[in-house]
């Protein structure tokens, strides 16, 4: 450790998630001297990337584990649909086109793929799943980086970047409890979003944000993002927005990851703390709706809601990580969930009375809708009648924030409208450039891989 502040590094990479690793590997492969600073300790290295399961990949024919074809226009249409047009078409199309070459590159650098997981068959054409998930991918990249001679420091939080006249000169970091000054010729910023900084979230969203759960790493606190914005870096993305989904309300505050997902909503009645329904639970199939439920729950008192099903729906969705609360009567369940029993009874009775006969198809929009209640439930509306009854609490779980650094096609960061001389950004920290709203499953890793690789190549070329 003693030498790191005495060397002038060719490329300094801030953040050791997917994007940072791709950049470090690309740069090191050209022979550049690369230092990677990762805020987390080794066991938690890899940020949100360690929680991922797949990336979305364009392909003209079957490719590795991917079936069929997935072409640029279809991919782009999918992106337009979720972002409602809030994207930069040029950057987006470039990312999509580059994704095809990423898969073989990833395989060459140690990533193994597996067929689409059970329960996610709908993604087998568009998304390539990492064997073992994102942590296995992160491990593979760290091994590759280490073999290429990349110097990695853990528990190394970057606090301040010195930018003088548009040029990166060095940075201040707290490494293993000591404040150090690091000098480098180029800089790649890949330190993710700011969703783990609850104060910042509360500033942006309001005090309710303190009740949100953070699905990923506690280390993405946006320290570097803020430092760069304070120095006039150009930003992109809505500073007040975050991507939040409804997850199991009993999840850990941070790092609950994928298992806290709950897929029961479409087959349930969802009430708030007061026992009132507040939104159409059956509006669309769950993968298309789970993102809006984060905001819906966030808008309820105490930022909590309760999803209630009966025995007949118990096996219609993926198992949950925590077993549901369970009782033989609605009142008993209300008591276990801490809800007003009479009120819940009333709500369920009113809902049941509004249900009508008809065919029920759990995997497609079946049009089995309620009649005469508000809000309606427009699909899968079956009365909650058969004991035992089950209940899950729901809370908003934040995946990422949208505010980021604006970059160009070469991943270069700018300030006051002018390109910075030797600073690039990749991954979540610049994803707002392409993903202005919504989310497309697997696109975060695609952005990180494409821009991480570009940033690494560009930085290395700059010092060559």
């Amino acid at each position: 450790m003693t030498d790191i502040d005495r060397v002038t590094w060719d490329v300094v990479v801030v953040g050791g998630g997917n994007a940072g690793l791709c950049a470090a590997i690309e740069a090191a492969e050209t022979g550049a001297k690369v230092l990677m600073l990762e805020a987390a300790p080794k066991t938690y290295r890899g940020g949100n990337s360690r929680h991922t399961r797949n990336f979305r990949c364009m392909h003209a024919g079957p490719l590795s584990v991917l079936t069929g074809t997935y072409q640029e226009d279809e991919y782009f249409d999918d992106l337009i649909r979720v972002t409602k047009g809030k994207t930069d078409e040029d950057l987006a199309r470039m990312t999509i086109r580059d994704s095809e070459a990423c898969l073989p590159w990833m395989e060459r650098h140690g990533v193994a793929f597996q067929p689409s997981l059970s329960g996610t068959l709908s993604l087998s054409r568009t998304n390539a799943f990492f064997l073992g998930g994102g942590k296995a991918l992160v491990n593979a990249y760290y091994n590759t980086a280490e073999d290429l001679g990349v110097r990695v420091l853990y528990e190394a939080e970057v606090r301040h970047i010195t930018v003088t006249e548009g040029r990166f000169e060095g940075l201040d970091a707290r490494i293993g409890g000591k404040d150090l000054r690091i000098e480098g010729r180029t800089l790649v910023l890949a330190s993710g979003g700011f969703q783990a900084d609850l104060d910042w979230l509360a500033d942006a969203w309001g005090p309710a944000a303190r009740n949100f759960l953070i699905r990923g790493t506690p280390y993405n606190r946006g320290v570097v993002l803020r430092d760069m914005l304070d120095q006039g870096a150009d930003s992109v993305g809505d500073p007040t927005q975050c991507h939040a989904v409804a997850i199991d309300g009993r999840s850990p505050k941070f790092d609950g990851g994928i298992v806290t997902r709950l897929d029961c909503v479409p087959f349930s009645v969802v009430v708030n703390r007061d026992g009132d329904r507040f939104y159409d639970e059956g509006e669309d199939v769950w993968p298309k709706r789970y993102a809006i439920w984060g905001r819906l729950v966030a808008a309820q008192p105490d930022q909590v809601a309760y999803s209630i099903i009966d025995a007949k729906s118990r096996t219609l969705f993926m198992p949950s990580v925590f077993p549901p609360e369970q009782a033989d009567t609605i009142e008993g369940l209300a008591q276990r969930l801490g809800l007003p029993g009479n009120k819940l009874r009333e709500t369920i009775d009113a809902f049941n009375a509004a249900c009508r006969e008809g065919p029920f198809h759990p995997t497609e929009l079946d049009g089995l809708a309620t009649q005469g209640i508000s809000p309606p439930k427009t699909n899968w509306a079956r009365p909650i009648l058969e004991p035992p009854f089950f209940g899950y609490s729901l809370r908003p779980g934040v995946t990422f924030t949208y505010l980021g650094l604006r970059v160009d096609r070469t991943a270069r960061v700018s300030a006051h409208g002018a390109r910075l001389h030797n600073i690039w950004a990749a991954g979540e920290i610049m994803a707002g450039s392409i993903l202005g709203e919504g989310y497309l499953a697997g696109f975060g890793m695609t952005i990180g891989t494409v821009f991480g690789r570009i940033a690494g190549q560009e930085a290395a070329a700059h010092v060559a």
Partner: protein, 362 residues
């Protein structure tokens, strides 16, 4: 909350807690047979957990891939949890009961068995001696060898059979069909699961890096063992059917099978021990670590002493070397139903049961 980790969980309960988390995650589906088998269920009986544990071969891929390992509050360590279940289950199934724990968990127990075995053979050679035969039989008559080794071979088989029956009952196995057995043998023969699914090899002695060293060492032991076994069998056939007596020349069947077999067995066992010393003991059954090392050592010694005996042919050392070799083999066979060797039987049974379940699911 159900995920509170209380130290009072039994091995089976702890494994169930972890498998239920996996079932909500599924990221490791492609590693081995454990995950598809688990993900087809929504709840797990004790027998289900035993079955899952027996499908696991401790490649550790799922540990290094897991985002929920300690210090995360979910504290996943599936390879260790399943290994503990296996060790306990072998103890539960073994007959007579209790011996398994002693031999699996205490290397010193196996070493004791070894000393006793060797001493017995020295005694036998001294007390019974030869009936005027040639070669090895000049030290111990063929009849005496058969009298000692036939029961020492048949008893463990009978004991193992009892164990496997108990296993089968616990995991709810239905009557075996030929196709189940072939499926199990094909799986075991190819050691498909040892190949780490879509990845290459295990995450064993080099942390999260995949290597095939363990697979190769394991192959060497298995094939070495089978060759040695075939060598002995061929000797028996030559003796009884063709009336050809030992010692056999270099180009005889017993030697052609036995020498490479002994070499493979010795090298494979040495390799496995070296790998085990490098691997993280916290990802296996901690209580059984010493016993496992001792077991592999004993296995390797059967090969090594055989080779040394062959090398010593014609010298004055044959007597003691013979006692050493036969004593090692005796100890190996007598402890077989209680040592790690039993895993081969339970693992085959688990693969057969897995084939049954898959067939039933269609």
């Amino acid at each position: 909350m159900s995920l509170d980790i209380t130290p009072t969980l039994t091995a089976t309960e702890e494994a169930r807690r972890q498998v239920e988390i996996c079932n909500a995650c599924r990221y490791c589906e492609g590693y081995c047979a454990v995950f598809p088998a688990a993900f087809a269920e929504r709840s797990f009986s004790d027998g289900d957990i035993t079955q899952l544990a027996s499908l696991c071969h401790n490649c550790r891929g799922c540990y290094y891939a897991c985002q929920y390992t300690d210090p995360h509050e979910f504290a996943l360590n599936l390879p260790a949890a399943l290994a503990e279940v296996r060790v306990e289950s072998w103890d539960r199934f073994s007959w007579p009961g209790g011996l398994s724990r002693a031999f699996q968990t205490r290397g010193v127990a196996l070493a004791g068995a070894l000393v006793v075995g060797i001493a017995l053979m020295f005694l036998a050679i001294r007390a019974i001696g030869s009936a005027g035969g040639d070669g090895f039989y000049a030290y111990l008559s063929h009849t005496a060898m058969v009298a000692i080794f036939a029961p020492a071979f048949l008893f463990p088989l009978a004991a193992l059979a009892v164990g496997v029956r108990r296993y089968w009952a616990e995991v709810g196995g239905t009557p075996l069909r030929l196709s189940d057995v072939t499926a199990a043998l094909v799986d075991a023969g190819r050691m498909r699961n040892l190949s780490g699914g879509a990845a290459e090899g295990c995450n064993y002695e080099k942390g999260d890096r995949y290597t095939v060293a363990r697979k190769h060492a394991h192959h060497a032991v298995v094939w070495g063992f089978l060759l040695c076994f075939a060598s002995t069998s061929s000797g028996t056939v030559l003796h009884y059917v063709f009336d050809m007596q030992a010692p056999y020349g270099l180009f005889s069947l017993p030697k052609l099978l036995g020498i490479p077999g002994g070499i493979l067995l010795t090298l494979g066992a040495a390799g496995l021990i070296a790998l085990k010393l490098k691997a993280d003991p916290a990802l296996g059954a901690k209580s059984a670590w010493g016993g496992e090392i001792a077991f592999v050592g004993l296995l390797g010694l059967t090969g090594l002493t055989g080779l040394v005996l062959y090398a010593g042919t014609g010298t004055a050392l044959v007597g003691p070397l013979l006692a050493l070799h036969l004593g090692t083999v005796l100890a190996f066979f007598l402890t077989l139903p209680y040592s790690k060797m039993a895993h081969a039987a339970y693992r085959l049974a688990a693969l057969a049961r897995d084939a049954q379940i898959k067939a039933a699911r269609g």
